[in-house]
Symmetry: C2
Subunit: 258 residues, 2 copies
Amino acid sequence: MKKVVVIGSGNVAEAIAKAIVRTPEYVLTQIYARNHTEGPRLAAQLACPYAGEPKELAQADIYLICVSDRAIGPLSRSLDFGNGIVAHTAGSVELSALAPNIPHRAVLYPLQTFTKGRPVDFSSVPFFIEASDPSSLDTIGKLARSLSANVREASSKQRAIIHLAAVFANNFTNHMYSLAEQILHDADTPFDVLGPLIYETARKAVESGSPRAAQTGPAIRNDFQTKTKQRDLLTAHPELEKIYTNLSNSIWETSKKI
Amino acid sequence: MKKVVVIGSGNVAEAIAKAIVRTPEYVLTQIYARNHTEGPRLAAQLACPYAGEPKELAQADIYLICVSDRAIGPLSRSLDFGNGIVAHTAGSVELSALAPNIPHRAVLYPLQTFTKGRPVDFSSVPFFIEASDPSSLDTIGKLARSLSANVREASSKQRAIIHLAAVFANNFTNHMYSLAEQILHDADTPFDVLGPLIYETARKAVESGSPRAAQTGPAIRNDFQTKTKQRDLLTAHPELEKIYTNLSNSIWETSKKI
């Protein structure tokens, strides 16, 4: 059984640590976290030792750094990982952010959004891996495949692009839901009426394999009459009107590309 | 059993006609459609009579007009509905678009996106109803409740706002998926890697009841470093860079509103 230390106590640390505990091939040796409230809480939840000081870091085969993007570099320089493989889990941080004196460096990026208290089915989550050397790639690849059936190699550059696509599919999509929520206030209508539409829109895009081909609505028909009526409804929300116009134009322009 | 005629042969007509056929209280008397290819095809599929000429329109208790927004008014003026209730099914068309000499006018708007060949579970689809008189409202309300457990009254103004919210939650959300699809091309990565993220983003928003409160990512953290890196990745796509900047700003502004 390989020993894994999870570093961090946020949403990603929690999700990954819980997934490690469920694998037969890996043991969660320690939760290491500078947050002396969340760290011990997560460790207790997983019945695993906790450490909060550099000298207490346990020896392990794999260290998974699950901290904020900016903390990855400094943290990697502040700890002694011995001969263990050190992997961060961030989409938009390069492999080279890890201290170059660490002999085995890697990335294990799960393409998913993690929320405290929401269970995650890792088996279908795509993992993107990268490493400083073939043996580290092999080791981190085995760990990834024990968590998920969907594992791919990606360079730091590719991973940054994939993470950017995820910002559109997650943050910007959620913002569209959020703007819809604001608009519904004007009709005294609760957000939950949009539930079936939101689910069907997601399913249709994923099942068809091409959201571009699945587009419908006034913008792709270039339906001036409806677009004018809809912009008129937004005169009290100039920011929303601007977004409406920009995205309607973008849908139309996208539809014309070959 | 009340008699229903469905007018039209597009996606909405197909979905609603199929749902009517499944109810015990209503009989689909006829598909009336000017499209002499799609109309007979849909009627045959439902084992129901077809008509394509005004004089052939069958007598019925309820006529459901499922045609394009612009065709609703002219069509309502071109047919003799006798004493039947005439309802259109469009989100952004006013009740008053129906010819005023029709004695019983109504709206039956299902808040969902319909796609040829994709089955729809109507039982959870929100229906918004409106009518010219209490007896028509009662009749159309009964039909709506036989199709769905989620039926509400909404004025034409409210319905237009709800439909606009649906444009954000469906067309604009799908456009975010579509832009993510374009971005992934740059990393030689297929769109399907985003499936689990897209589903989790949808579930999280709907289950939490407030996507605004559920927002995450670089924009809401106002993380300049990541935003700059991500804009740099989009220099080859100036339109996408503009959308990235506008939506990031909008997420940040929205987060500051009380």
